[in-house]
Symmetry: C2
Subunit: 153 residues, 2 copies
DNA sequence: GATTAATCGCAAGATTTTCGCGCAGGGTGA
DNA sequence: TCACCCTGCGCGAAAATCTTGCGATTAATC
């Protein structure tokens, strides 16, 4: 039913790098016909193996020049407060990812802002919350991303 | 030249959510013709505003069931050693992101492995390195992702 | 060894993207 | 103010790509 075979795994690996490859390109790399590759891709999308296909946008061009890892420590309280906080954080455009983690901190967020000043304002607005007992900020000096192997002509 | 106007920003916002929309769909949302949208998209790719377009794959289906944040502290040493380490980390399939950060740690990685056991093996193989003086692991219990607003079918 | 189910490749048809063209709006300088 | 250029628009044709029906092949089951 939802079985993933080696062809599927190959396709997923390729699509994780570049999801805009044509059926022909995929076919050549995995050794199937273009039609079969695309049929498999349809299925992978349908069963949720491919959750989404998204563009990665240069953050500076959206005016988000700095990245910070925010470690939030929550006040022990009801699940409701926690859910509410989570929902709120999910909706903030500055919040890129939310990890619920083990250890002294409860959440680790990756946050992107226009400037340090904007991050300061962000923390003042959102981290001084009844559900949050404290936070720590780790500033990202630079992010290293795996390059795309073959920036098409 | 490389100017980003409001149409571009709208397109980028839409493509960040779903980069597989057709020219027609984009056109309807931003109020331009399909051809113009696609021409802008070509340009956004060319100037690097759209860095990549990737599929987000359900990690379990790739056999990567757990996520860990690894905080690496480096031994003070030459730039060469640091560069070499960075290059090495970039190539590991388990390493999803690499942040070079301020604070006591030098690097924060997001690492995906099949199991805790696999993570342990991973650390033994890669974190006991002359360039690394120590590391801390924060296990991700759960990740909350912003949902895609309208899974078209 | 027959039957069933899955999936392949092929190729026609539908959809989407690319691109040349002519035109409108906005600066610029005489 | 008036040419003039430059940019970006929409239109529509051509090219590229994706989808799907079909018969054939293969693997598994009984």
């Amino acid at each position: 039913m939802d079985e993933i075979d080696d062809f599927d795994r190959q396709l997923l690996a390729l699509l994780q790098i570049d999801c805009r490859q044509t059926g022909d390109a995929l076919a050549e790399q995995v050794g199937l016909s273009p039609a079969s590759c695309l049929r498999r891709l349809q299925r992978l999308r349908r069963i949720g193996a491919v959750e989404r296909e998204v563009a990665i946008v240069a953050p500076e061009l959206l005016g988000r020049h700095i990245t910070v890892l925010s470690l939030l420590t929550l006040r022990r309280g009801g699940r409701d407060a926690l859910d509410r906080l989570r929902q709120k954080l999910l909706r903030l455009p500055q919040v890129e990812r939310i990890f619920h983690v083990t250890g002294p901190a409860d959440f680790v967020l990756t946050v992107r802002c226009a400037s340090m000043e904007a991050y300061a304002a962000f923390t003042e607005e959102h981290f001084y919350d009844p559900a949050i007992s404290g936070f720590e900020s780790i500033v990202v000096l630079r992010e290293h991303r795996p390059a795309m192997p073959d920036a098409a002509h």
